[in-house]
């Protein structure tokens, strides 16, 4: 409905993504402050069940269920959301700052002639109903409060792991509203040939609650087994520094830092890494940081809550063993 808060929901492997649920939780809070409804947008194929699931979080579940929507295609998703937003006129549109959202929503902002704030770390309602988004500049050296003065909806993409998970309404209160999926195929220029995801048991770095990152102090690709073992015990995801990726010990997909991924887990282990600024820029919003390094001068200790001075090859296996018994 006009004036509502909307959240765009993504799913993966048959489940609503954690980051989408986090944004729904914030969306509910903003809708309550505005006295408006909370809508959620779901596009996909065979997503009936997920649409039902979302009625536990939102008042209205707009969902497009069509084979055309099975794989994300910017040209297709863009048309559907633009048409719906032009008709329903939401006040705010939120999504997690995922690869998909960062591909889709900037273009959508252009079409809707409105502003967009990316990678937001907090969202507040201003007195005049405008959304104040706090976002990092210069790799997090500075934060800026930005507001969309002109254009609606106000679009904001939120860094994953920024907000807590929402309460489940029981019984579910929302209603589902299937969308009539009509696509102007003459405007679909892109053809998605293939989508592959590595069969990973772990969450992506951007969504992981615990991350264990190794630096060049790991001394070789084979030693990352130590971090994999620790990650197994903690249900964590393993990250790597730029030096490690440049050495070919891990793939770029695992890189945390300014030219890799920006992460914000609850707990971050920095193991055998010095803490170069481009790395710190990618992890400095982690809630608790444990650094393990044998060099007392390593800059990473300035960015850590707990600094362990010692040999990682001695400390990490012991830590894994101890945690195995304790948790």
């Amino acid at each position: 409905m006009a004036g509502d808060v909307w959240v765009f929901a993504e799913y993966q492997a048959g489940k609503i993504r954690k980051t989408s649920l986090e944004v729904l939780s914030k969306g509910r809070e903003l809708a309550e402050q505005l006295g408006s409804g909370l809508g959620v947008l779901l596009l996909g194929s065979g997503v009936d069940g997920l649409a039902q699931e979302l009625t536990a979080y939102a008042d209205t579940v707009y969902y497009g269920d069509n084979p055309l929507l099975e794989k994300y295609n910017n040209d297709v998703y863009y048309q559907i959301i633009a048409a719906l937003a032009e008709k329903e006129k939401p006040h705010i549109l939120l999504a997690g700052a995922t690869f998909l959202a960062r591909d889709l929503f900037p273009r959508l902002a252009g079409r809707l002639k409105t502003g967009i704030a990316v990678d937001c770390l907090s969202l507040e309602m201003g007195d005049d109903g405008s959304l104040i988004a706090r976002r990092p500049l210069f790799g997090g050296k500075v934060l800026a409060d930005v507001v969309c003065r002109e254009g609606r909806p106000q679009i904001a993409l939120v860094r994953p792991n920024t907000f807590s998970l929402p309460d489940v309404q029981s019984p579910a209160q929302g209603k589902v509203l299937p969308l009539d999926v009509t696509v102007d195929t003459s405007q679909v220029k892109l053809e998605v040939l293939d989508v592959t995801r590595m069969a990973k048991e772990r969450l992506d770095l951007t969504e992981a609650e615990i991350i264990v990152t190794g630096g060049r102090g790991m001394k070789g690709a084979e030693n990352f087994q130590l971090l994999d073992d620790l990650a197994d015990v903690l249900g964590a995801t393993v990250g790597a520094t730029r030096g490690v990726v440049d050495n070919g010990w891990r793939t770029h997909d695992d890189q945390v830092g300014k030219s890799g991924k920006t992460v914000s887990p609850k707990l971050y282990f920095a193991v055998g890494l010095s803490g170069a600024i481009h790395h710190v820029m990618g992890m400095n919003t982690s809630k608790v940081v444990v650094a393990i390094n044998k060099d007392p001068q390593a800059p990473i200790f300035q960015y850590a809550d707990y600094g362990v001075l010692g040999d990682l090859f001695e400390i990490v296996p012991l830590l894994t063993e101890t945690l195995k018994k304790e948790i």
Partner: protein, 263 residues
Amino acid sequence: MNILVLVKQVPDSEALVQVKGEGSGVEVEDRYTLNFFDSLAVEEALQIKEQTGAGTVTVLSLGGQKAIEALRTAIAMGAAEAVLLEDPAFENGDEYATAKALAAAAKGMEWDMILCGKEAFDDSSGIVGPLLAEFLGIPLVTTVVKLDFISEEQAVVVEREIEGGKEVIKAPLPVLLSAQKGLNEPRVASVMGVMKAMQTEIKKLDLAAVGLSQSEVGKAGSKEEILRYHRPPERPPVTMIQGEATEVVRQVVALLKDEAKIL
């Protein structure tokens, strides 16, 4: 194949950035460089040009002296032509206003493909490229890590990074693509290149030349306004733990459980 590449000069990652006064602005140390992701875009354009053997690589930026430095770096790498959007009216614009100006300039140029970095190191938005595609009415693919140009079809097949995987996408020309780390290894400019960059004339376009009005660009044409700047919250001083390994590990686990309450 004519390729247009967007470039931007940004503070390097070591540059000191401080919040001024009561959060009204920021002071940035004068340590600037061509945006890393833009250098990937320039490199890719040069490789396509070398592969196809025809066409021109033109670099485009908006701003003043800093933008000229970005353009010269790109010429030194091998770009043939450089265009600068320069006018007081363009200043203090957000991504929307910047993309409007770039789109107006691009409309007056000949290109089959536009390349840009996936984001700039300073604001990390990654918005200008997609907005430009929208304003020009062309398709876009962001975070591209592999690019194959298929000349007989006048199309590209690209791989795009997503969380834990990749998408393979085919797009007809014209198209806008944004470069992600992994696409290539940008070349270092040769001495000859640097000398050429000093001599190459940079074509300048002002507001009148791109045919826009004052209200469409700069602050007036912006959608987003920065209200204030903040310093990031500071982490409390580090608790250092050292000694015998078993004892150290016991302490860390206890702190994570009892103090940080995270395990």
